[in-house]
């Protein structure tokens, strides 16, 4: 695994929560949206263990619904606990990201 995808794995929970916060999505849609943001390093399937873990923690819930293309899909919604979790991930990320940026930017 590349360094980039390893770094991404640690923050993927937060990214998935952030995508779902913008609106309910099903697995395929979700991976598409992550890729559109530019996060195309992690293989698409990686989101499924993440989705299971987030469900187990009660941060998201799934619901079967008819999709735009017809068949039923499992759409994910953010729960209240999920909103709180996302909030604390955002805060923690902000605390880490600026010192890390500071440390690493000299290298360029």
């Amino acid at each position: 695994m590349s360094t980039r995808s390893q770094l991404l794995k640690g923050i993927l929970d937060g990214c998935v929560l952030a995508v779902i916060e913008k609106g309910p999505a099903y697995g395929y849609e979700l991976s598409k949206k992550l890729q559109e943001t530019g996060l195309n390093d992690v293989s698409e399937g990686t989101i499924y263990p993440v989705l299971l873990r987030l469900q187990k923690n009660g941060f998201i819930r799934g619901e079967m619904r008819p999709s735009d293309s017809g068949p039923n899909r499992k759409y994910y919604f953010l729960t209240d606990a999920g909103k709180q979790a996302l909030q604390s991930i955002i805060e923690e990320w902000q605390q880490i990201s600026s010192p890390v940026n500071e440390l690493l930017k000299r290298r360029f």
Partner: protein, 225 residues
């Protein structure tokens, strides 16, 4: 949708996969389903999501390897690690149901055999407590041990093109035959000491029928629930 409906839909949708993708997905599906201490509903839901994803990706020319990575075994282990466990009550209900079903059939068949044979010859309808207990235990160990071995062999052969199905079947069959011989030997050589009681054919048949009926009703009820 409940687990049963999801399984049926999965069976239909899998036909849409290309040969290469089907091989990858089938191994993944069997491997995950073999872990039957996991919640069946959650298992089938995630399997359906992955199948839908694969079918969508296929339309864009992606392969299962592109989507789920080229290390299916560790990917699948990651999924299994995150799946919630099945409710203990459901497992007990399932295992209990199987045991009751087997006992009821044993009693019914014993009743019929005794009835038929008693028409021609003197039959011994005595039951020795020690003998029955030892043989039941041996059969229990036989069944659990063989299922465990079969699962072990199957898990090992998934995601592995070098191990052929034929060798595996041979291995499983051989182990089953040897352990069956041990069970028969145990049954033959257990001494009939301690208390015995007579257990007539009609009582055997009646008890077996009642047990079977009970099992049938409970099963039907839990299915409709």
């Amino acid at each position: 949708m409940n687990a049963k409906q999801l399984i049926e839909e999965n069976n239909k949708k899998r036909k849409l996969l290309t040969k290469e993708n089907e091989k990858y997905y089938d191994d993944l599906l069997v491997y995950i389903r073999l872990h039957f201490t996991l919640s069946e509903q959650q298992t089938e839901e995630v399997l359906m999501e992955m199948l839908d994803h694969l079918i969508d990706g296929q339309k864009e020319g992606k392969t299962a390897k592109d989507i789920f990575g080229d290390d299916p075994l560790s990917y699948t282990d990651e999924i299994i690690e995150q799946l919630p466990k099945e409710d203990k009550r459901n497992i007990f209900q399932f295992v209990g149901g199987v045991i009751v079903n087997i006992i009821s059939w044993v009693l019914i068949i014993r009743g019929i055999i005794l009835l038929v044979f008693s028409q021609f010859t003197e039959v011994n309808n005595e039951i020795n407590l020690l003998g029955v207990s030892v043989v039941s235990l041996a059969i229990g160990i036989f069944v659990i041990g063989n299922i465990w071995y079969m699962l072990k062999v199957t898990k090992k052969s998934l995601f592995n093109e070098k191990i052929s199905l034929k060798t595996n079947m041979l291995k499983v069959g051989l182990v089953a035959a040897v352990s069956m011989a041990i069970v028969l030997a145990v049954a033959r050589f257990t001494p009939e000491i301690g208390p015995s009681f007579s257990f007539d054919w009609w009582l055997s048949l009646l008890l077996g029928a009642i047990l079977w009926l009970l099992h049938f009703i409970v099963k039907k009820k839990s299915r409709n629930a």
